[in-house]
């Protein structure tokens, strides 16, 4: 974790996280399969997040879930989890840990700052806590995960420097 910016009303941290993209049919069999290996019942409503202390699982489309792990996990254990998820031939679980980076954004000014970069509606009535969104931020594809008092924003690794610069720029200008 690396602190990018901190002030009274905004704080940004850069993070790498273990992540698995899971694709599969939204059936009870599939849900059971995920629950068996994750010990989490996957959300059935699109763009919903369920979480526990160290992980969260977001349903990002009708057949896609992202599992993001907040804690350190052994490579072997993590690979085993992917293999287990892939043990069902109707499920595709892909290690995405190196593919994306995360920005944790906190502070009362976070939405105002982000609205310099995206049209996305951050109002509580439109973007509730424990929901996610996939949208454009500074013209690149990003996923936004909304928690109580902070957000996670993920983007492809290749854009990480660009997005970091844009976030800082949005604070400065």
């Amino acid at each position: 974790m690396r602190e990018i910016f901190r002030s009274n009303d905004i704080e940004i941290r850069f993070q790498l996280k273990k992540q698995i993209i899971i694709r599969g049919p939204s059936t009870s069999e599939f849900n059971n399969h995920l629950n068996k290996h994750l010990d989490l019942l996957p959300p059935t409503e699109n763009l919903r997040i369920i979480n526990d202390q160290n992980r969260f699982l977001a349903k990002l489309s009708f057949d896609q879930w992202n599992l993001i792990i907040n804690e350190e996990i052994e490579t072997k254990k993590f690979q085993k989890l992917i293999d287990n998820l892939n043990s069902n031939s109707s499920t595709l679980a892909t290690d995405y840990s190196d593919a994306q980076v995360f920005f944790r954004i906190m502070g009362s000014n976070r939405f105002k700052m982000l609205n310099k970069l995206t049209h996305f509606d951050f109002r509580e009535k439109s973007f509730k806590t424990l929901t996610a969104a996939q949208t454009l931020l500074a013209r690149i594809d990003c996923a936004i995960f909304n928690f109580d008092d902070y957000l996670y924003i993920s983007c492809n690794r290749s854009f990480s420097e660009y997005l970091e610069d844009r976030l800082i720029d949005a604070i400065n200008f």
Binding site: S90, A99, H119
Partner: protein, 992 residues
């Protein structure tokens, strides 16, 4: 002229004196002044020259609608065409007038005024037709551009502008009386409200005029102060001042520009302007009205000003342009101006009204009589005269008698138009209001509510009724107002579009569009020439096509046209008001998406290594890819590429191929899916093997290519081109979801998860063996087009035996976070074998020598696999695949299609260029048949001559023949058409 300052004014800080320069001369003004009010305070009325005739022009209005007073702000990077009527002045501001040379007073261009009888409507279209077509480009246009136009574009500057997005429930445009009342009604409601006003002072006419005496027994200023305080305290309402809504898009999407440096000089380290992009559920347009002018001879002279503007200069800016103006009107709107003038001790020199005494409202009539103001009823201003400022007016009564009055200012009012620009941008429908002789909103197309004068409601006593009715959808409390005014109870207007000139001179001019120098005579001429449709007429005459879009004059033009055509105005129709409402700078539109953020940049996981080795980058899509690696600053790109390619052919080279698209495909029906998506047949392909594959569009044309790795019948990994990665994944998803939903298959992009290194050359195996000593790289265990998974130092990697250079090679796939470690390890061991990094240019050269295509370079969306000689990649026994049907169409099987061939210059000293045409004749004649063009061309250090790939008609049959390549200097180069594979046709180096 007496003291122009009206010091009982709360908006101007008379204690804060400001100096500024206009055309190099120093003047003083006060904090709060606009450029226009500052100039008027200094008794300056000549501020610019007109667009076409270079006639002297002054300040006509007091707002955004200004057609004349456009100036260049030298102290702001020479920002041109700034409206003097809205731009606030600041200490040290440097202003220049526009469109004059050598000076504003003595402008050579004013000779155009004498030549004006030549410059009638359609002059350009009719005159500059010959004698030769190049005359327009080389002579006419440069000369006209130099002579005409407004300000000069700034040469170099870097403005800082940003964007801000808003999502709200209700947006109120205009914080005048109606806008403020609407906002107040919504305080503490469940709606998120945005209240926008272009001014830095909210209140509209409450600040700008003398029209309202009291509201609910409160002074207007007290009322405004209180209501603003309440709104500011409301948690659900955000106020944007100095913000002009310029655009109303579908669906309820507004664009507004905020000036962040009102009254101070913009700095280079802060945002100068913010472009607000607003998505809203409802729009309340309370953006008021605009006063119309009147057309008469010399109605453009400095000193002619709209009545409401004159009143605003007094009320808002504390400056009275004149103590004794003449007022000319056809309506009852000037009463408040007269009362204001009298209240400050000034007195109109005359009041001229086109209406009869009986038609003029009693209160107006009485006020005029009571104050002993000469009144001319049933009369018109026939002309204004003066050199660079109005000196006298000619008054014509209904019997044709003309009298003359000396004056230094003429206030005119031709009626009032609701400001319908935004409403029409929203596609709302207008209706002609016969009572007020104007168009007003009739039916909304989007969620638009118009209130107040913006809706055509000019009666102050009905404000509360209208608001209660129109805001009822928001379930807000009803309001009750008691408004006492200085205006006539009803706005009455008598039709008057134009006063016919008493002068028969061909130089007499009565303007209908001040900014574009369009006269009423031009309108007549256009009609007589058949341009009787309003949109045609607009373009023929350029009427209302200036940056002001004819805000004060377009209705007058419609009126004149309707009279000429003997039609009703609503039968003539209106032109369409196009966004933006007022000009936007490119800097504002671009926001921060410029310079370093012009385009998002993608960087590979080992970008830092490339930087450290001095790589020169090229943009491939958004990726920054190493183009070549010069050894030092002396080595040219050509030399570097020749060196790199030679090293690969003789030793080994490595390319960062991380940008290649990678897709993981899995599911019970993955094999079926892959067989449908690609032309190849993967059924008999063994797990652990890989295959070069083509993807077609439904039209049978090559869309992308890549290598497919088969892990099992249920699990594949595909690579794609760098530029095609997103499209291929999208295509796969689309077909999986819409065409073949019955298939159980899922796919994920793994482009970013893995870095890819392409290592190739005769010494590659030796290097790989050193880097990965536990892996057997022999031909027997690791043959060409196979792949293996390994874990090296706890890093899971995939190695594929494949090559894009024609040499033996491997592709190594490494998790991105570990990429640099492996890359450096390869270089560490590779240095003993002469391993060099190479860039995309060398890659292109090497692959072209081998005849490998680049999709998008050697193909252009009109090339089939057969055209490329890749028939062998088509799974002919497959029942179906994407694009199969199109490959048997008559057009795709005709023999004279353009086909891929190799090209070699007959004289090997000649060089070929990409894009050059291949022809059969050695003499260039135009037109002449073209066989095709060169798609790739390089100088090969291996072949020791230039060579190229080309797509030419019937190319495969022409292999072995000779042709010519045309050059830009109309010469030809003799070439041989050859097989496109120039290097190792037997593939021995690949499989060795």
């Amino acid at each position: 002229m007496s003291d122009l300052n009206v010091k009982d004014n709360k908006f101007i800080q008379f204690h804060q004196k400001i100096s500024f320069q206009f055309d190099g001369k120093k003047y003083f003004a006060f904090k709060g002044d606009t450029i226009a009010s500052a100039l008027l305070r200094n008794n300056i009325s000549l501020v610019g020259r007109s667009f076409k005739y270079h006639r002297p022009r002054g300040i006509y209005t007091c707002g955004i609608e200004e057609p004349n007073a456009l100036v260049q702000i030298i102290s702001e990077h020479s920002e041109p065409n700034t409206r003097a009527t809205i731009k606030k002045i600041y200490e040290g501001m440097q202003i220049e007038s526009q469109n004059r040379w050598p000076s504003l007073e003595n402008d050579i261009g004013s000779i155009n005024s004498f030549l004006s009888p030549l410059f009638t409507a359609g002059f350009y279209y009719k005159t500059f037709m010959g004698p030769h077509k190049s005359f327009w480009k080389k002579i006419y246009e440069p000369v006209i551009r130099r002579a005409a136009g407004l300000g000069k574009p700034p040469k170099e500057f870097k403005a800082i502008s940003n964007h801000m997005h808003h999502n709200v429930d209700i947006t109120i445009v205009g914080a005048g009386l109606n806008g403020l009342l609407a906002a107040k009604s919504l305080i503490n409601s469940n709606y998120d409200v945005l209240l926008i006003d272009q001014d830095d002072q909210l209140g509209g006419i409450l600040n700008n005029s003398n029209k309202i005496l009291s509201i609910n027994n409160q002074q207007p200023s007290e009322f405004v102060k209180e209501i603003i305080q309440e709104i500011q305290n409301a948690s659900n309402i955000q106020i944007l001042k100095n913000t002009l809504v310029t655009t109303y898009n579908y669906i309820d999407h507004l664009i507004a520009i905020e000036d962040k440096f009102v009254g101070s000089k913009p700095t280079n380290d802060k945002v100068n302007s913010t472009l607000h992009k607003i998505r809203t559920s409802h729009v309340i347009l309370s953006n008021g009205h605009i006063e119309r002018f009147l057309s008469f001879q010399n109605n453009d002279l400095p000193g002619v000003m709209l009545s409401t503007a004159f009143e605003k200069y007094i009320c808002r800016y504390g400056v009275s342009p004149s103590t004794q103006p003449v007022i000319f009107s056809n309506n009852s709107n000037s009463l408040s101006l007269i009362k204001k003038l009298i209240s400050i001790g000034h007195k109109p020199r005359a009041y001229v009204d086109s209406r009869s005494g009986e038609e003029i409202e009693t209160e107006l009539f009485d006020t005029i009589h009571r104050n002993d103001i000469p009144i001319y009823t049933n009369s018109l201003i026939a002309a204004a005269h003066g050199k660079k400022h109005i000196e006298k007016v000619l008054i014509e009564n209904n019997s044709g008698a003309i009298s003359e009055i000396k004056t230094d200012y003429l206030c005119i009012s031709g009626g009032i138009n609701p400001d319908v620009h935004l409403f029409t941008q929203s596609k709302g429908i207008l209706d002609w209001d016969e009572q007020h002789l104007t168009y007003k909103p009739y039916k909304s197309f989007q969620s638009t509510i118009t209130i107040g004068s913006a809706s055509g409601q000019f009666d102050f006593s009905k404000i509360d009724t209208e608001l209660n009715e129109k805001l009822s959808i928001f379930n807000v409390d009803k309001i009750k107002l008691d408004i006492k005014t200085n205006v006539c109870s009803l706005l009455k207007v008598k039709k008057l579009w134009e006063v016919k000139s008493p002068s028969k001179s061909i130089w007499a001019k009565s303007f209908i569009d001040l900014q574009n120098d369009v006269t009423t005579k031009d309108i007549r001429q256009a009609i007589s020439e058949g341009f009787d449709r309003i949109e045609h007429l607009k373009r023929f005459t350029t009427n209302s096509m200036g940056t002001d879009q004819g805000k004060i004059s377009s209705i007058n033009a419609l009126g004149i046209v309707s009279d000429l055509l003997d039609k009703k105005v609503n039968e003539v129709g209106t032109t369409i008001y196009r966004p933006p409402y007022s000009p936007l700078s490119f800097a504002a539109i671009a926001g921060r998406n410029t310079y370093e953020f012009y385009d998002p940049e993608r960087k590979s996981p080992i970008h830092s290594w490339h930087l450290s080795k001095g790589a020169v980058f090229e943009d491939v899509g958004q990726w920054k890819r190493p183009w070549y690696f010069p050894l030092n600053s002396e080595e040219s790109m050509h030399d570097a590429v020749q060196r790199e390619s030679k090293s690969v052919r003789e030793g080994a080279g490595i390319l960062d191929g991380s940008t290649l698209g990678k897709i993981e495909i899995k599911g019970n029906d993955a094999l079926t899916f892959m067989n449908l998506i690609y032309t190849n047949d993967f059924t008999k392909m063994k797990p652990g093997s890989s295959r070069y594959a083509l993807m077609l569009g439904e039209d049978g044309m090559v869309k992308d290519d890549g290598i497919i790795c088969k892990i099992s019948d249920q699990h594949f990994i595909a690579t794609t081109t760098t530029g095609g990665a997103a499209n291929v994944l999208t295509c796969m998803e689309e077909y999986a979801q819409t065409e073949w939903p019955e298939l159980n298959v899922y796919m994920n992009s793994i482009t970013e998860q893995f870095a890819t290194f392409n290592i190739s050359g005769p010494k590659t195996r030796d290097i790989m063996q050193k880097v990965f000593p536990d892996i057997d790289f022999s031909n027997q265990t690791f043959p060409f087009m196979t792949f293996q998974f390994h874990t090296i130092d706890q890093i899971p990697i995939r190695i594929m035996r494949a090559s894009f250079t024609g040499e033996m090679g491997y592709e190594i796939y490494v998790p991105a976070q570990q990429a640099l470690k492996i890359w450096e390890k390869i270089h560490h061991f590779g240095s003993d074998f002469g391993l060099v990094p190479y860039g995309t240019e060398t890659m292109h050269l090497l692959r072209a020598e081998k005849g490998y295509i680049i999709v998008g370079q050697d193909t252009d969306g009109s090339i089939t696999p057969i055209d490329l000689g890749l028939n062998w990649m088509i799974g002919k026994s497959k029942k179906d695949f994407l694009g199969k049907r199109s490959l048997t169409r008559s057009d795709t099987i005709r023999p004279d299609r353009k086909q891929l061939v190799g090209i070699i210059p007959s004289n090997i000293d000649n060089h070929l260029e990409e894009g050059q045409h291949v022809v059969l004749e050695d003499k260039i004649q135009t037109p002449m048949p073209m066989l095709g063009h060169i798609t790739s061309s390089y100088f090969s250090p291996t072949l020791n001559h230039s060579f190229g790939l080309a797509v030419i008609k019937n190319g495969h049959a022409l292999i072995g023949t000779e042709a010519f390549v045309s050059t830009p200097d109309q010469k030809t180069i003799p070439v041989k058409i050859v097989n496109p594979v120039f290097y190792d046709q037997e593939n021995q180096r690949l499989v060795s």
